[in-house]
């Protein structure tokens, strides 16, 4: 057990990040369980603690008498300096043991910019960074989360990846590892990895050899042993009503990013926005039953004591029984001072009416995401909203007393022209004017928030050549010059980090050496602008002889084999290609839950069906 010197804790910011003891944390004696798992998120405590997936796994693993799940996050730079200075290894928050003594360390990979932190955490743990260098005594290093759908850039650092939803497969991994350990680690690490490769949804990168074509594209990931499957399909929970949910999450002392109850209504989204990776990889839609949600909500209120509950799903407003559910939640918990919030709003007046119901007095800002400035471009990305929808919704919000509105857009989308950029400004002004029409006076505040589009694997835009940082900056400047009103504020993202994100999103195995080199030269916390070191990354590409443009900026050929081709979320590549063509033609595609099945392949391929509770209840 590691005890931290008070002198260290008094020198670092927010020492509560490292001291544990939070309500609902489960401290088991590691010597009394067969397998210990460190659940890691390669970012700071406040970000790591907000991840719903890890909360679920924490509960599922700790329910097992033979296993212990503990938490570990990236120490902030001040703490890292102290740890390196005093030779304190990375430790878990529960038993305060070195992570190196755990049997498994599982990293949740939520965004590409956290890759350097994975290396930093392994290094702080004293675990060899390259999977190939790890002897039997070291923990099994597992990756999961959305980035695992193209794990190739970090393939060298992980023993295996969980593709898709982890509730069931994590238990299988634990059982396999426990048996192997009980059998005296027979056959060594290789034997364990081959057994794991036999589980559905587990990808062991070392069992595949990647060859490249003359033009540098990935030609093939070939299996090099019989245990490995040619294609790894994602794991998916058929019925969410049947699996455990995080009803007893650890309640932090510090104010974390999502410091509230997270109630997951459903998984998946069938709206089909063409830029959205989550919308593809979490298909199909599977709803929880309203009565189960009410029960989960009650357990969560009782076990956490939180005074706020957020209905989290990809597009919570799409839940089929939302209205009844929200009313029931408000009714049941108002005595206990618990408020309900909807993080993502659909652009329609129904949503505004709901927002009004849940936020009865407070009129803090409402957020809408038109994503693009013109109807033409919104059709390209299949964002099924019109300017009229937006104006009606915002008008309803103004009428209901809101005066601050935040509008989310992306720039750098396929087929985008300067007219589309100017359309963003025009929309912002129209919203300002609308306030005057509705209220008879000025006084609205509009925030225009613009992120840079990064094409993601498994989406219809996976072929698209990402805009260069220079082009994105030009577009930002253009927009800035059009937004000259003190009632409009403008936020934008660093274009250089978007490039890096784009490279790793669609990169291949050769990038592992770039990540390694960048980390060796000080890259970490790349998602935090104050720590992002663009020159270090560019130098790492240069020394590896690799061109970031090749991965991010190149329009890919229709028949190109992608580095992630051997990993499938169940959605057919032909469907995605068709969607890309429809995008370029500006043709909309409807919601497959409410309209016709679009034949994406998920439901028949994975044997899972769209589960829409409202529809079932009605017929």
């Amino acid at each position: 057990m590691i005890t931290l010197d008070p002198a260290i804790l008094s020198r670092v910011a927010k020492p509560g990040r490292y001291t544990g003891n939070e309500w609902n944390s489960i401290i088991k004696d590691p010597s009394q369980v067969g397998i210990t798992v460190a659940l890691a998120l390669p970012d700071v405590y406040e970000v790591g603690m907000s991840n719903l997936g890890l909360k679920i796994l924490y509960q599922i693993i700790n329910n097992r008498p033979d296993a212990a799940a503990e938490r570990v996050y990236a120490p902030w730079v001040d703490m890292e300096a102290e740890m390196r200075r005093y030779h304190i290894p990375l430790f878990t928050l529960e038993s305060k043991r070195p992570v190196q003594h755990c049997d498994i360390i599982g990293f949740s990979l939520q965004y590409e910019l956290s890759y350097s932190n994975v290396l930093n955490m392994l290094d702080l743990s004293g675990i060899p960074l390259l999977a190939a260098d790890r002897e039997d005594k070291f923990p099994l290093v597992i990756g999961g989360g959305p980035c695992a759908f193209n794990p190739e850039p970090v393939a060298a650092f992980f023993d295996c990846f969980v593709i898709g939803e982890g509730e069931e497969v994590m238990e299988e991994v634990i059982e396999t590892a426990a048996d192997w350990k009980k059998a005296g680690k027979a056959g060594g690490r290789t034997a364990l990895l081959k057994q794991l490769a036999g589980l559905k949804g587990i990808y062991v990168p070392s069992l595949y050899s990647v060859s490249y074509a003359a033009d540098g594209t990935a030609a093939k990931a070939a299996v090099n042993c019989p245990e490995a499957k040619p294609v790894i399909a994602k794991r998916v929970i058929r019925d969410l009503n049947q699996v455990e949910f995080a009803t007893r999450p650890v309640v932090p002392y510090l104010d974390i990013v999502h410091d509230r109850i997270m109630l997951e209504l459903f998984r998946g989204c069938t709206r089909g926005c063409r830029f959205c990776q989550a919308g593809v990889i979490y298909r199909p839609v599977r709803e929880r039953r309203p009565e189960i949600l009410l029960q989960l909500a009650q357990e969560l209120v009782d076990s956490t004591g939180y005074n706020e509950m957020s209905l989290t799903s990809l597009s919570s407003a799409d839940y089929s029984c939302l209205h009844q559910l929200v009313q029931a939640l408000i009714e049941r918990f108002k005595e206990q001072g618990v408020s309900v919030s909807l993080p993502s709003l659909r652009i329609d007046s129904f949503s505004v009416q709901l927002a009004q119901e849940v936020q009865q007095v407070r009129k803090s800002g409402l957020t809408f995401a038109p994503e693009a400035g013109t109807q033409r471009l919104r059709d390209v990305i299949n964002k099924g909203v019109t300017e009229e929808n937006l104006m009606t919704a915002v008008g309803a919000a103004f009428g209901a007393g809101w005066s601050a509105v935040k509008l989310y857009f992306m720039i750098g989308l396929p087929t985008e022209t300067d007219e589309d950029i100017e359309g963003i400004a025009a929309l912002a002004y129209r919203v300002l004017d609308l306030y005057k029409t509705v209220k008879g006076r000025r006084g609205a505040k509009v925030t225009v928030s613009v992120s840079s589009f990064v094409p993601k694997p498994h989406t219809p835009f996976q072929w698209f050549g990402q805009n260069s940082p220079a082009e994105l900056e030009r577009k930002q400047q253009l927009l800035k010059s059009r937004l000259r009103d003190r009632n409009i504020s403008f936020n934008w993202h660093d274009t250089r980090t978007s490039l890096l994100e784009g490279v790793f999103a669609r990169g291949d195995r050769s990038l592992s050496q770039v990540i390694l080199a960048a980390w060796q030269h000080g890259a970490k916390f790349d998602g935090w602008s104050e720590h992002f070191k663009s020159d270090v990354w560019l130098e790492a590409f240069r020394s590896a002889g690799l061109d970031p443009y090749f991965y991010a900026g190149r329009e890919r050929k229709p028949d190109e084999i992608f580095p992630w081709e051997h990993i499938t979320c169940g959605v057919d590549k032909t469907y995605l290609q068709e969607e890309y063509q429809r995008a370029l033609a500006g043709a909309a595609t409807g919601d497959c839950r409410r309209d016709d099945c679009r034949g994406c392949g998920v439901c028949p391929g994975l044997g899972v069906e769209v589960l829409d509770w409202g529809e079932q209840a009605n017929g």
Partner: protein, 231 residues
């Protein structure tokens, strides 16, 4: 309405949380305990909690006081037990009792805080060096300490807040200091600030970073007696 006053600890397990986070942890425990807490009106209703005095990050205590308003007077012992079942490790209700609804706020009556500091002796020094340092401190007419916040600097005379001489005792390789600090309507000072001044201005030979500060208690004091703010 009923106002329950509790004496509550902040232990080693929660030493490194701020006052705001400490209050938040207690508020959530009250909700978990399902006690009939009263809420402020309006949106974002807040539980009606009030503390005697804020306790800083890094400081533990065995005698904090808090008032919580209930919509109905439940048995105070039952309330205490339920609360203790719901509180995280290190936070514990030692005593509880109702005070009059209209009784003055804790903040208005508590005027004295007693602290104990355990600090390792600096290398190559002895207890007599500590005593010498304290002697110089006690004979000074005033000790000015500059409190810096991100916005401004303020000079405070520490001595006007100390009600008696600081006592020191040797504790192995460490030294134990005891002090009592006045809490006035216009403000107070922290034990850590007194320690910092002792080290910086009077060469107190201790490892300041490693000092463990503990609040022994909070009191209502006058010239002659100290009493506890409990019914």
């Amino acid at each position: 309405m009923a106002k329950l006053r509790v004496k509550i600890t902040k232990g080693e397990e929660v030493r490194y949380i701020s006052h705001l986070d400490y209050a938040g942890a207690i508020e959530r425990a009250i909700r978990r305990a399902n006690l009939p807490a009263a809420y402020s009106a309006g949106f974002n209703p807040h539980m009606k909690l009030s503390f005697a005095s804020a306790l800083g990050l890094g400081v533990t205590s065995e005698g904090e006081y808090m008032d919580v308003e209930f919509t109905a007077a439940v048995d105070p012992v039952m309330a205490r037990n339920k609360l203790n079942d719901s509180l995280p490790p290190g936070i514990f209700v030692k005593q509880s009792g109702y005070v009059d609804d209209r009784s003055p706020a804790l903040m208005a009556v508590v005027n004295l805080a007693e602290y104990r500091i355990l600090a390792p002796l600096a290398a190559g020094t002895e207890f007599c060096d500590v005593q010498a340092s304290l002697r110089r401190f006690h004979s000074a007419d005033e000790v000015n300490y500059i409190r810096e916040s991100p916005k401004k600097k303020r000079e405070i005379d520490l001595k006007q807040f100390l009600v008696q001489d600081i006592a020191a005792a040797a504790a192995g390789e460490a030294v134990r200091l005891s002090m009592a600090i006045k809490i006035t309507p216009t403000g107070s000072v922290k034990a850590g600030e007194v320690l910092a001044a002792l080290v910086a201005q009077f060469d107190l030979p201790v490892v300041q970073d490693s000092a463990l500060i503990h609040r022994v208690g909070l009191y209502i004091a006058n010239e002659t007696v100290r009493s506890l703010p409990l019914p």
